[in-house]
Symmetry: C2
Subunit: 223 residues, 2 copies
């Protein structure tokens, strides 16, 4: 049987490491909702298995084979999400959670078949790029964090971080999804929260939430 926990750790490390490829054990514990002691335990096993570099009291980083494995896990996750969304027509905000439970059992063979059915998709339902069989990522689309978008500029949602189910459900409930058109009306200095228009409705959103939504500015029509 496969090692479910190890897979989760590897994915988390890949997704949340910093620019230098390093992640603190604290961050892992927070993202997985477990104790730091548990992370120390597992991190030693992953190091023993050659998947990460680890020295006590420093953060960890993926080795070559760790990164290869991570990319394969990401690929599996994103193809399954695309499949549930596009073919099974499961609601946008539900697919991430479903796939978290489903993915550990899916074989490479199944993933490859789904990729063919989907005609080699480049981005998943949250706008994240899908690595191909060799691990090559399509180039990320340029996008701006919603909390950094200048006011009164219309923009299109192209990516939403799928770090948290509750966040995804909330975002969907206020009418935001891929390709939604949004416009920031104002940013409050008090708490940095923003007021934005989606589908003609005004909603308020914390800076933290907005910083997990990425948009592309709409090109102005040529007059």
């Amino acid at each position: 049987m496969k090692n479910i926990s190890q897979e989760d750790y590897i994915s988390i490390i890949y997704k949340h490491r910093d620019g230098g490829g390093v992640i603190k054990s604290n961050t892992i514990a927070e993202r997985m909702n477990i104790s730091n002691a548990a992370v120390t335990d597992m991190v030693r096993k992953l190091s023993r298995d050659g998947l990460i570099n680890y020295t006590r009291y420093k953060g960890v980083s993926l080795t070559g084979s760790g990164e290869t494995k991570a990319i394969n896990l990401i690929r599996r996750h994103r193809i399954l999400e695309s499949f549930l969304y596009k073919i099974v027509k499961m609601p946008w905000e539900k697919v991430h959670e479903e796939v978290e439970n489903l993915e550990h059992g899916a074989s490479d063979d199944l993933v490859n078949r789904l990729e063919v059915m989907l005609e080699y998709p480049e981005y998943d339902p949250h706008g994240d790029p899908i690595p191909d069989k060799k691990g090559k990522m399509p180039k990320a689309r340029s996008a701006v964090r919603l909390d950094l978008l200048p006011t009164e500029k219309s923009a299109i949602v192209v990516r939403v971080n799928d770090y948290d189910h509750e966040f995804l459900r909330y975002v969907a409930s206020v009418g935001i999804t891929m390709s939604s058109e949004v416009k920031v009306k104002s940013q409050l200095n008090f708490d940095k929260s923003i007021v934005l228009t989606v589908d003609g409705n005004d909603i308020n959103m914390s800076q933290k939430m907005a910083s997990n939504i990425f948009v592309q500015e709409k090109k102005n029509r040529i007059k």
Copy 2:
């Protein structure tokens, strides 16, 4: 998180209990390829959780809620198999193994959606009946064990037990699948093995193997 092992035990008990609804701990151990001691352990937990009836040294049987659970697990398994076979076009002999790994993560919601996509299938790719949402089984098709089929009678394969991956792969490799036409040419008294014709080819098959394949006699055309 769900309890993977408990689900496996419940399914095995449901599938391999005898006419009186009872299964010996020995049988469970054999079918799951684990020790008898492990079965004793788990059987106490299942009993504690109200899913089975258990008295030391006697076999076990499912309680009402155990049976309800079993039927739901069977439903999940068979719908996922049908889905992989009919929609993803995965080979017949591969779907059982894939689903064994996949099923523990699939939500009822997903299963229900797949059922709709499949237009409420009644039988899975191995010919087993699929219970509906309420647990109602379509009535089993009348069929004869292949080792009991009279010689020289043509018959159609309508069900194959999916108890073992190796068996399924072998069966597929000799050209037998659902709706295959077969005819028993002779049965050897020596070891009860049979010689049968499939697609014009003659093959020999042990009685044990044949007893896991079920066929319907072809109606004779009216002359």
